[in-house]
Symmetry: C2
Subunit: 593 residues, 2 copies
């Protein structure tokens, strides 16, 4: 049973993303390397015994919706109880708010382990943590006190309710309404779809964070407010009161992640749903973006986790399955020879390297984002905002690369098994289905790409871009000092320049007000940009690996070599596509299809 590599995870934490340096800060004074190692070990144990053994069963016995209630796999009972007891939910939050101020990098490492073991589970925790954190950050003392402690124990669940049937990703079209009841509470009405983790038998209550419009609010996103709406009302003494008419009116049957329920909620339909304004009126979308940004990194991390599990599943098969023979120097095979294990076939090796390069590159990027958030939390100077900007520009990439390349990695893992990969008896087909949602959750790849090209690379006159370029240059300079790495450093420099070339080509469109044309190839730009970013992460890993033992170092350098030879080589073609003069996309009329 292997679904991730503990040694690589520790290497990323300690050697690539400098946990020791973070731990020197007083925010993290309660931790040292030993206590972190114990935590990693504890979560691995929990995952080995309580999560991984149930991943296939949770797919085969998915959540069931009946009579207005959702019933999930019974193993969620002990899992959520234990996760609550272990303090895994709001561990990253401030001590004053009920957290334990765990470094964000470590928090992400722990969740990565759990997600690699069982990707159906962490959503129940992550959404609850995110909602609790949102209430803590922007909510009144009253609802903080009333709602948050039980959420952090996982006695109650938390959700984010954005999507509506008529609006989808277009949040300016939200029509759910909130009527001021004059006593500090609001009457909420509306339909919300695709609401994950919004009901199950192992929580007594759910706190839904709902985007809705106050009466008379301006049109568009500027008229959207955020409300905390409990499933059951909560009395002043903390006990549960009346049903708050948040009806589960249906469950979505999904292609994958079938143990993780996704529901349709109706607010204020069967009776009054009372909610509480979180923060100021009409600023709901800004607040929600705190949670969205966390959720985007978490989604990418989950993609990396699923791809990791698929990699190890296919690796195990490749190491055990004999089939075919190696080619002789005559170009023929000798049928009297014993069959070889398929891991010895070059194409199988290529498929395994492909997966490994994506899995570890993705994970390193997620950790990089987490590191910048940690630095933001532990830096007092004006550097603070720099780390914020670095996390901002990398977030859409940390969401997208692990989901898109991760999907490709899982597909490759399935292919390693040949016909067996397509059979329900083997788990690859499940990972193939599970990971397919990752590029849709929390803003599709198209939307992340618009965020990257339309907002992040240009914001504050390209300040985030410049900071990122500096970070990349630092790694290039360091790698130039090593003969084994200087070739990759040069390649990274050249490929990073292609991003500038694209911007030089595209920006004039934006300046002329032709924003559609500017953004038309945003998804291709994302592909290019994220490949360079992962190349940067691989070079960082290569650098850090120079000080490791030979076997570990060789493994990392070989995978780095694979990434540069097979993946970085795509960049020039992507740049050419982006810098093309013809308007293939914007000018195409519907009649062409």
């Amino acid at each position: 049973m292997q679904y991730y590599d503990p040694k690589t995870l520790s290497f990323l934490l300690s050697k690539v993303h400098h946990l020791d340096e973070l731990l020197k800060h007083e925010r993290y004074a309660a931790y040292d390397k030993e206590s972190i190692d114990l935590l990693l070990e504890a979560v691995k144990d929990f995952s080995d015994t309580s999560l991984f053994p149930y991943i296939k069963e949770m797919d085969e016995k998915p959540s069931v919706f009946k009579d207005g209630r959702v019933t999930v796999h019974e193993q969620f009972g002990p899992i959520l109880k234990k996760a609550g007891e272990m303090g895994l939910v709001g561990a990253f939050m401030d001590e004053k708010d009920g957290g334990v101020q765990l470094p964000i990098t470590v928090f992400n490492a722990l969740y990565f382990i759990m997600e690699a073991a069982n990707n159906h589970v962490t959503g129940y925790m992550g959404l609850t943590a995110g909602s609790a954190n949102l209430i803590v950050t922007f909510g009144s003392e009253e609802i903080k006190k009333k709602f948050v402690p039980k959420m952090l124990d996982l006695q109650w669940g938390g959700t984010m309710c954005l999507t509506e049937p008529q609006a989808g990703s277009s949040l300016s079209d939200i029509t759910s309404s909130a009527k001021d009841l004059g006593d500090g509470s609001f009457s909420i009405k509306g339909q919300k779809i695709f609401i994950s983790a919004s009901d199950h038998q192992f929580a007594d209550n759910f706190i839904h964070l709902v985007l809705a419009r106050l009466e008379g609010a301006p049109a568009g996103t500027k008229g959207v407010s955020l409300f905390a709406v409990p499933q059951y009302r909560v009395n002043d003494d903390g006990s549960l009161g009346d049903y708050n008419h948040v009806d589960v009116v249906g469950e979505f049957e999904k292609l994958g992640q079938r143990g993780y329920c996704t529901n349709h909620l109706a607010f204020g339909d069967s009776g009054e749903s009372i909610g509480y304004l979180v923060g100021d009126a009409n600023k709901g979308l800004n607040y929600m973006f705190q949670m969205m940004n966390e959720a985007r990194i978490a989604t990418g991390r989950m993609g990396a986790g699923i791809a990791s599990a698929a990699y190890y599943a296919s690796l195990q098969y490749a190491k055990e399955r004999p089939q075919g023979r190696k080619l002789q120097s005559s170009g023929k095979k000798d049928p009297s020879e014993e069959q070889t294990l398929i891991i010895n076939h070059p194409d199988v090796k290529r498929m395994l390297l492909h997966q490994k390069a994506i899995v570890e590159g993705s994970l390193s990027l997620v950790m990089q984002c987490a590191y910048y958030i940690d630095k933001q939390l532990t830096t007092e100077s004006n550097e603070k905002n720099n780390y914020h900007l670095l996390a901002e520009i990398l977030t859409p990439i940390a969401k997208t690369y692990p989901s898109e390349a991760g999907k490709d990695a899982v597909d490759t893992g399935l292919q390693v098994l040949g016909g067996y990969g397509y059979m329900m008896d083997f788990i690859l087909q499940q990972y193939y289905r599970d990971i397919r949602i990752i590029s849709i959750y929390e803003g599709t790849t198209g939307i992340q790409s618009l965020d990257l090209l339309g907002r992040k690379v240009t914001m504050m006159e390209g300040a985030a871009m410049k900071l990122l370029a500096k970070e990349i240059e630092k790694v290039i300079a360091a790698a130039m000092q090593h003969d084994q790495l200087s070739g990759y450093a040069l390649s990274l420099g050249e490929n990073a320049k292609l991003i500038e070339t694209c911007m030089t080509h595209l920006l004039p469109y934006a300046m002329q007000g032709n924003h559609e044309r500017y953004l038309a190839d945003a998804t291709i730009f994302m592909d290019l940009f994220s490949t360079v970013v992962i190349g940067w992460q691989w070079l960082k890993m290569g650098l850090a690996a120079m000080a490791e033992d030979t076997a570990f170092k060789e493994s990392k350098l070989h995978t780095l070599d694979y990434f540069y030879k097979y993946e970085m080589s795509r960049c020039r073609g992507l740049q050419k596509t982006i810098c093309h003069d013809s308007d293939v996309i914007v000018n195409v009329g519907v009649e062409v299809f």
Copy 2:
């Protein structure tokens, strides 16, 4: 309800692949354009009414294995009956053998329609046709007469039994045995897995074509013979005799194509399984390759069919779903404006063009292969072998491109629907599962790539390569005459040269006896080669479209433009990967993973 474009299909048949020219030959004297049009129309009607309406249900109510028998969806009853009556099964076969000598191009067009409508169905027909054709070509008069007519009526089914549990794709390791009973029959013993269409309630009998070893046969593929083994023995008067002990011992539960059963068969386990040698002893694999080559093209065609259906499903959604707004020249959106249909968003247009380029490019390549086979059948001169070689070199590509790029196209179609794409209510998730088998069936992508680079491009001192290069040059020369096409013609020429560059780099490895290294990047070579080949097909389509009405022409030229800008631009990077000096793949040891 649209799952393919009849106009494009007719265009491919008539204008791109010159059906009129084929019909001049006496072999096809029974047909003219009108009768072919009627056939296309009849199969479209059949598909509209009997196939497409059941595609989702066949997934939701898959075949069931119980008490040693497989029960498939009840709609297969009327479907197989009608298909038999329409003569769809062996239509391509010679009249003397029970066929109607339909041109291979037309036969493929008809099957493409059916597969786009419902990819769970044609396997039952195609495998029966292929087995019947194998018996007709190599079998004795006796088994021809006994077995073939009822197969062509679909009263009986036919299968190909290659794979064994311990051997997988390594056919030299087949251990099924055949013992000569001295009366012209043989006793067959062995286990065969992944045997599709090998049992259902709508056929009275099944004729299995089984690879097995005669006693004392040489080791490896040179000791493999082919046998026809009925499920029930057949008396001399054609009536069914005793059970022949071909036991269905299990069914494989698959990720997709769940209406199309795939079983585990045991021969000679519960009693004697009598079989008949087809052709000469020890030549079974050669014979089977006739069927394999047909089946490989058919598999690619099925990939194109599924991708076509997914394209039209996502197109319909994009045309009906309002969401979001177009960007103003200010770069903002106006929330007071009505929502736009998502087909108006550039990224959605890009996703649709991507699908269209792959679907039509794939279909054109399948038709190109079929055309060369038609030419082979209708050419008496020494040109005949040239057409054979062209079909040979294109077959692994016609299998692989529609399966790999088709998978990507379906993935893109699912993404067009956003969250709904992941929901079981919509059909995209089914096509996503269905198409995943296509790159595994009939030799995985890895195996097709070894066939292309290891055999096809070098065979007869590169004769097939030279012929293909000439065909490509002809199209380039013709396109150079059109201002609108000359740019693409130049690009095709440049990209085609990259294949030569790769061969120049790789061949020395083979000459040094380092075949592993020569073939290590075969799959990347396939990616490059097939992209060039599809570029060639698109240029052919562009050329033929010059004579069409404006709307149709513009649609084709726009998609051609997309293909060259977004897909052909990948070739240089692929060539660079292949021409790299470092041995990333061959030298990687197991300890790296």
